[in-house]
Amino acid sequence: MNEIIPKIKPSAPLSLKENIINKIKMEQKKMKKLTFKKLLTVAAVFAALLMLPFVFTANNEAKAATKLLDESINQSDNLKTMIVKFLMLTTPNENFEAIREDGSMIEHTFTIMFDHPNKWRLEKQGRISVFDGVNSYSWLKTLEMKIMANGVAGFFGGWDKFLDIQNLLKQEQESAKNDGSEINMKETGSQIILTVKSKAKGDFTNNYMKNSSIEESDNRRIYTFDKETKLIKEMQIQIFYNNSYHTIFETTSILYNVPVDVDRLLERPQNVEWMNLNKPLYSQALTGITSKEAANLIFTALANKNIEPVKEAFGSLNKNLTESLYGLKLIELGDSFKSGLYVGEFVPYKIKFANGKTAEGNIALRNDNPNKIWIIDGGL
């Protein structure tokens, strides 16, 4: 008779009420800001009435987390070096930020030398990126791609922020205070476990980029701190897809203040020609047009086996790859779309290769360079 009655029922988590109230207060804060802007345009005289200070009261867990992060940041000020080994769901040659659901947990090593300026090296099976304090370099071990840029470039897939412990913790601290991230903290034995849960960021009117990176996923970041030293011991990131959270990142070791050979840290291929991404691009053909028109020019050039008129679009693309596409026939181009946090646009295409096989995909084009030149950023 009692088969259908649950033997146990769950209680709501303790943080539920706090989270709801805090979100409501944050919404109020946003609404006040919006209303403030709106009213300014209508009648500035009423603006003063709305300038009442808003006091955001963080919940106890967020306050405790903030304290922990503060202490951790102070500890990390004493760091000289840090070596983080982690596994991430991706493929050996992919960009460092890319999550690939069809990939495997690939081992990465991130070595940081805290200095003035900091220097670091991020390495996995097929790809390496280095920041030597002045320039950033990134290359595939096959040397089919070797690019460089001045300053800290986006070659590190955001891990330079994520794994530079001081920035990472400050970033989480800001999240705890400002955005809708939820913080949970618990103590177990000699450890403190901090979980930060965030919603995917970006425009997902088109879902193409959903779950392609951590920021573009509903994710939770789980940090394990040593209770005594307040230093991070482990880190795990899970993203939500197919009905549940999946671990796509986990550290296998974090070592502090171990000797790091600076020559090995900064080692990179010698006597090779690096493509400098800071070099200004000029192309009349690829500016002042839509991404779809640019895609059309690019595929037409490949079809004609002559990319010279639009060579700037091919940027760092490997020559062998480019030539392997020679003679293709463009069957169809779809309307461009944006997705997630990607700064550029995607143009759906269908092509027929010279050997008769057909392929479909979305070519990624971006024009966020000074001269607004459309360049290929992936998808071929």
Binding site: M1, E3, I4, I5, P6, K7, I8, K9, P10, S11, A12, P13, L16, K17, N19, I20, I21, K23, I24, K25, E27, Q28, M31, K32, T35, T188, I193, T195, K197, R220, I222, Q236, Q238, N242, N243, S244, Y245, H246, T247
Partner: protein
């Protein structure tokens, strides 16, 4: 929602305190995950509070909130697909075990057991039975949540119970 006073916040806190366990349990036994149930309950409360008029115009807050949770769970399943028994063992498994406390593990086991028990029933019969035994609601309350007549609720209940007995999944007498 603009301009919620301290009193109003206190009122909201009381409503959350009064209903959060029941709503959380309701959502959990539909989606089988603490995290998702928590998200659903939070979203429903936020939407409820976003329209401060609902606070005064809703006659029966409990039914209103349960109905909202039920709809949110349906939307969730529509979006992410119905939970299939094949996948059910993976519910929650991706979370490190030490992340889950004993209560959570036991609840997940109970969720799986009840899903298995009701798996051969049509959805509408399974839902009526869950409302009665899992959520401990009477037929009138269930009818309000499902937007159907009390008689329809009763007939779905009878068919469901009879099918469970036929398949020997339950024994004994189940009263209306």
């Amino acid at each position: 929602m603009l301009g919620l006073t301290k009193n109003k916040i206190n009122e909201l806190e009381s409503i959350i305190e009064e209903y959060q366990d029941q709503l959380f349990s309701f959502a959990f036994f539909r989606v089988g995950s603490y995290d998702i149930a928590q998200d659903i309950v939070q979203d429903v409360f936020l939407k409820f509070f976003q329209n401060k008029r609902t606070l005064v115009s809703v006659k029966n807050i409990k039914t209103y909130l349960l109905k909202s949770i039920a709809n949110a769970c349906i939307d969730y399943k529509r979006k992410y697909g119905k939970i299939k028994m094949d996948n059910i063992e993976s519910v929650g498994n991706d979370i490190a075990d030490d992340e889950k406390n004993d209560e959570e593990k036991m609840c997940i086991a109970e969720f799986m057991r009840i899903e298995d028990l009701l798996s051969e029933l049509p959805d509408e019969q399974a839902e009526v039975i869950k409302l009665k035994f899992v959520d401990e609601l009477n037929f009138v309350e269930s009818a309000g949540i499902l937007n159907i007549s009390v008689n329809t609720v009763k007939s779905r209940y009878r068919y469901g119970i009879s099918k469970l007995k036929e398949t020997h999944k339950i024994k004994g007498t189940y009263y209306e």
